[in-house]
Symmetry: C2
Subunit: 182 residues, 2 copies
């Protein structure tokens, strides 16, 4: 679907970083006028909602510099160049939590902020957990804990869980639960 599409006339690269690139596009609007679009290019990411046999989800406390605070999130990480999302999900879960999963299900995907960024996040459900090998990045400091879905919802109310991917994944499982009860 490309209704109201905008054609790039000129593209200026502002920054090429470790995680993101930034460019500014001069675009031709549907009415022929010109405008500028500031665009963050991101490689995409995966997020994993890992559920124990006691129906607890694995959460990771992590300091987020853009927010200047620590929040609790589901394990996640960015895609390496050309990496398959499922392989990335398996790698990130084990690296961040030391867990491996016997059963993987792709749940969904979403764009975090399509007004200025092309970041897409693929969400996987990981079940049948067992111990693997913790292996954090050298600049990554996290602490894992478990929470039931009910506890996770209270953490959303308290804004300790406060990011799109984590809230989406928890709501997704909650909606499944309600629908199965119908």
């Amino acid at each position: 679907m490309n209704k109201f599409s905008e054609k790039t006339i000129k593209r200026e690269t502002i920054f090429e970083g470790k995680i993101i690139d930034l460019s500014v596009h001069d675009v031709e609007l549907p009415n022929g006028e010109m405008s500028k679009r500031e665009i963050v290019n991101h490689p995409g990411a995966v997020a994993v909602i890992a559920v124990t046999d006691k129906d607890e989800v694995i959460l990771v406390e992590q300091f987020r510099k853009p927010l200047e605070k620590t929040i609790a999130e589901i394990p996640a990480g960015k895609l390496e160049k050309g990496e398959n999302p499922l392989q990335c999900a398996k790698r990130e879960l084990e690296e961040e939590t030391g867990l491996v999963a016997g059963k993987w299900t792709k749940l969904t995907s979403f764009y975090t902020s399509p007004g200025f960024a092309n970041e897409i996040i693929y969400i996987y459900l990981a079940e049948q957990l067992s111990d693997g090998q913790l292996n954090l990045d050298e600049d990554e400091f996290v602490e894992c804990f478990k929470a039931t879905l009910e506890e996770a919802e209270k953490l959303i109310e308290k804004e300790i869980i406060h990011d799109a991917k984590t809230i989406y994944a928890i709501q997704y499982l909650n909606l499944l639960k309600y629908r199965c009860k119908k």
Copy 2:
């Protein structure tokens, strides 16, 4: 909460744009080592899930240059400097859809992508809709339509609705509905 906090030692401004700024921080990690963080500064935004008296939600088709495609979203817009989120929500709903609402409820808020951006989105529920004054920005081309919650869920499955704020708001209303039925 600031467990594992990272102290900025140096901050370099890379770009100051119309919508976003970009800076790179040299940070001191909890173990005393140094790393870099690429940070997009965003003014924050509001999103409005507007529900008609027939339980339809108002959606807006919009071309998103970062995705190079058109998707359907709930009405939304960025906060002006110092603007109250509720005032912004009222302004954006009327400007984008030509509707005003008699009843406003703040539902929730979330961070879109805390790994690299500080963008927060406040979500409001708007009810008791009536006609106001359409007033699009000069570089904004959108088309509104109505969908029931069931239709909106099908649009999520088809990835026509595919962004965090719209999915979160629709799931939020769905969960409320299921809980009220219990």
